[in-house]
């Protein structure tokens, strides 16, 4: 099906008042977006701001709870990706939708409606693809299996596939996230060509530099809502960064301290997968003192996960050294770090924090099975009665709401699961606590409880490294703030009167 081309500059797509709810959570709330023919329209926002949800609604993968979509001024209902494709919408997902067991050619013609024949007319299809590939400068070796292509080449195949299926509006969901700089440059050239042919591109990103470089207009999403649409000539990067993060300084509930006590952790020149911008560490040096909270701010996926894993012994750095409580770490293993009294609140509580199929009491005692209070002969025989009493005491102390401590941990709400983890970790009276997104997905009450506990731990004399993509959380409880970008520490800021402007700019890597 061919889609008639809208006059240059005319509106080609309009999404009005789009709301998408998952259970009680709004992923999109009253979002508006309009896209013109032949423009690069950027959707800017932090992780979890609702960019991907909005695009999945556009592509028919999700049904909006309410709201309307207009394509070429006509109201449409997009119930499946197939319908989206028929309307001329193409999408390059962050995780490529390519069948690895097939060749480039086969992937492009999958679901193809160019002919009604039973058999695949290889020559005719190849010719069509080659014409497209030449027109837009998208080179691709059609007979290569997907598994042998680089990420950049796979992305070209995805774009070629979308064009082959007749897209007029191309959605690129964080297309540069996995690309090298040279590959990204190549992508921008392709985007220019597409634009000059009158195609519209919806570009999703949170990297300020490239947004300023490639966009014609920008719509900012914040916490599921669209904030504003601007032409790129009108605004500067700082303004955008500010709008994206979007807050003014609210007074913190907590007193900020300046610790002068001894260091519990010192990182010196730590590197891990240095060349990977999003999953590596590049020459990171920092220290955490007793009785302070060091907040690591930054957009998700700039090396924060790796930092936490190094500091909990899950990975060993390739260069540099880590000192814990004054002695240099020789071997990196999680148990060694636990014995050195390092507590860990992992970033994914279901994957790494808890064992969902085990009861609350089992989870609470997991780290203490060798303790003589709970077992004879270093874990040979567990004293179930003692474990049960201990669990009941912690349930009360940490206000863990569950029908019984024998309930499976996975049945608990997110907040109560996090309290189970907190109880287990804090009961060891740690010297260093690494807390990663400790309040992600929690309601205000539970988040407040977690913050109170972390502060109390700090006042007891524990050093806390707080990693969070939630900027409010960082501002709320950090005594010192470090900003991470592409595996590097961009700067250090005081937690007492933080310079929001400067921090936003550092987070955007400028």
């Amino acid at each position: 099906m061919t889609v008639e081309r809208a006059p240059a500059g005319g509106e080609i797509l309009r999404m009005e008042h789009i709301t998408k709810r998952f259970g009680a959570v709004y992923a999109n709330k009253d979002v508006n977006l309009d896209v013109r023919a032949g423009e690069v329209h950027t959707l800017l926002g932090e992780n979890g701001a609702g960019k991907s949800t909005l695009m999945n609604v556009l592509f028919g993968l999700y049904q909006p709870t309410s709201g309307d979509i207009y394509v070429h001024g006509k109201k449409v209902k997009i119930e499946s990706p197939a319908q989206a494709v028929k309307l001329g919408i193409g999408m390059v997902h962050q995780h490529f939708m390519l069948v690895e067991a097939m060749t480039v050619f086969e992937n492009i013609i999958l679901g193809d409606e160019h002919s009604r024949g039973i058999f695949i007319d290889r020559n005719a299809r190849r010719k069509e693809i080659q014409e497209l590939s030449e027109k837009y400068g998208l080179e691709a070796d059609l007979d290569m299996p997907i598994t042998e292509l680089s990420v950049g080449a796979q992305q070209r195949v995805e774009i070629l596939k979308a064009l082959y299926h007749g897209c007029e509006i191309l959605v690129l969901d964080e297309p540069t996230a996995a690309l090298t700089d040279t590959e990204a440059e190549g992508l921008f050239e392709v985007m220019d060509k597409l634009k000059s042919e009158g195609k519209s591109i919806i570009f999703i990103s949170h990297k300020m530099r490239e947004v300023l470089k490639v966009s014609d207009r920008v719509t900012i999403l914040r916490a599921g809502q669209s904030v504003e649409t601007d032409s790129i000539g009108d605004v500067s990067g700082e303004v955008l960064a500010n709008r994206m993060i979007g807050r003014e300084l609210k007074p913190s509930h907590y007193e900020k301290v300046q610790s002068e006590k001894e260091n519990v952790a010192i990182l010196t020149g730590v590197s891990y997968h240095r060349s990977s911008k999003h999953n590596g560490l590049n020459d990171v040096s920092l220290r955490v003192r007793r009785g302070e909270i060091v907040g690591i701010a930054g957009v998700d996926g700039n090396g924060q996960s790796q930092l936490a894993e190094v500091l909990t012994g899950n990975i060993s750095p390739e260069e540099g050294s880590v000192d814990l409580m004054g002695s240099k770490v020789v071997t990196y293993d999680p148990n060694g770090f636990i014995l050195k009294n390092v507590a860990h609140i992992p970033e994914d509580r279901n994957k790494a924090g808890l064992i969902g199929n085990m009861s609350v009491e089992d989870n609470l005692v997991l780290k203490l099975t060798k303790d003589s209070r709970f077992s004879d002969g270093k874990g040979f025989r567990l004293k179930w009665k003692a474990v049960h009493d201990y669990a009941l005491a912690l349930q009360k102390k940490y206000d863990i709401r569950c029908s019984s401590v024998k309930e499976e941990a996975r049945n608990l709400s997110g907040g109560n699961q996090q309290k189970v983890i907190l109880a287990r970790e804090l009961e060891a009276s740690p010297d260093l606590m690494v807390a990663v997104h400790p309040t992600r997905g929690l309601d205000i009450g539970a988040a407040r409880f977690i913050h109170d506990s972390i502060i109390a731990e700090r006042d007891r004399g524990c050093g806390v490294l707080l990693i969070s993509a939630d900027f409010d959380e960082i501002l709320e409880i950090s005594d010192r703030i470090l900003v991470m970008f592409e595996g590097q520490i961009m700067g250090e800021f005081s937690g007492l009167h933080p310079d929001i402007q400067a921090i936003s700019v550092a987070m955007a890597g400028k």
């Binding site: 499946s80 990706p81 097939m102 679901g111 002919s115 024949g117 695949i120």
Partner: protein
């Protein structure tokens, strides 16, 4: 050519044919991302129903069709549970394996009573018999002294091979087994394809079962599938999920089966059970050698859910 070898080759073709039906059934299923270990059970019920209809109507061909029909019906249980309810595929395959043969045994008892005398039905006639050819030449026997089911089996292999490698529909079908989400974004009907796979699988597995009571043996006995449904699973792995590969695998397993029968006939000093082990031993050896490299459809065994966060 010695009669031993000639008979061995003829028996290989006869023994491979039911395996081809069963293995193709599994191939269509796995290519759509469904692992169905219930082939054995579907074949069992197909074998009984095929036998009964063939006996009642006197037409083995009708029996085969009935076997296909009941195979589809039984496999719809598996289809609904695994596709629509996203249930565990292995569990439901196992359920079919327990349920269907038991149902077959039950129906047989109810219908024929539990007397010790086995009821006998007509076998399908071979092309040679139909044409009234008298020659006993080896090649005449090989190519003409076969039931229509054997020709259908081999034609199905050719059809399947072309379908998966040359046709648009076949390419789309394979995408469902590899990466259903990607297939869906290209407008391919994932759920529909999976149900289609279950219809094809049920029909072929039912026919494979019916083969044993309409073309191979005049009687129905419990357990007559004798693990062929599982050997078919091995044949799909051995055949690297391709139609020609599956054919070669089935011929190999068919050969092992034929060999053990022939050896039983010529050797009386060893207990016959030793020879009966041959096909199963071969299966284990092949799986041990070939099963290491996982090359099957990527999404096989995993449920497909539509709106997933």
């Amino acid at each position: 050519m010695s009669s031993f070898i000639a008979n061995l080759i003829l028996a290989t073709v006869r023994m491979a044919s039911p395996l081809i039906f069963l293995a193709l059934a599994e191939l269509y299923e796995e290519r759509a991302g469904l692992v169905n270990i219930g082939i054995e059970g579907i074949a069992a019920i197909g074998s009984l129903v095929g036998f009964m209809i063939s006996l009642i109507s006197g037409r083995p061909g009708l029996g085969v069709l009935a076997g296909a029909g009941v195979g589809i019906l039984v496999n719809m249980i598996y289809a609904y549970a695994t596709i629509s309810l996203c249930a565990e595929q292995i569990v439901y395959g196992m359920a079919i394996n327990i349920f269907a043969p038991a149902l077959a045994a039950f129906i047989y008892r109810v219908y024929f009573g539990s007397g010790s005398e086995l009821v006998q039905a007509n076998l399908m006639i071979t092309l040679k018999q139909a044409l009234g050819i008298q020659s006993d030449n080896f090649f005449v026997n090989l190519f003409l002294d076969q039931t229509p089911m054997v020709y259908i089996a081999f034609l199905l292999v050719i059809f399947t091979g072309i379908f998966f490698t040359k046709t648009r529909a076949g390419l789309n079908y394979k995408a469902v087994g590899e990466y259903p989400k990607a297939a869906a974004t290209l407008g391919i009907n994932v759920i529909g394809t999976k149900y289609l796979a279950c219809v094809i699988c049920g029909a072929l597995a039912g026919m494979g079962g019916a083969y044993l009571t309409t073309c191979y043996s005049r009687t129905y006995v419990d357990g007559n599938i004798a693990g062929r449904g599982f050997i078919a699973l091995a044949a799909v792995i051995f055949g690297r999920w391709s139609a020609p590969g599956v054919l070669i695998a089935c011929l190999f397993f068919g050969f092992c089966d034929a060999l053990q029968i022939r050896l039983q006939l010529v050797n009386s000093s060893l207990p016959y059970q030793f020879f009966q082990m041959i096909p199963y031993l071969a299966t284990i050896i092949v799986l041990a050698a070939m099963g290491i490299r996982k090359a099957g459809p990527k999404s096989a065994g995993q449920p497909y859910r539509k709106e997933e966060r």
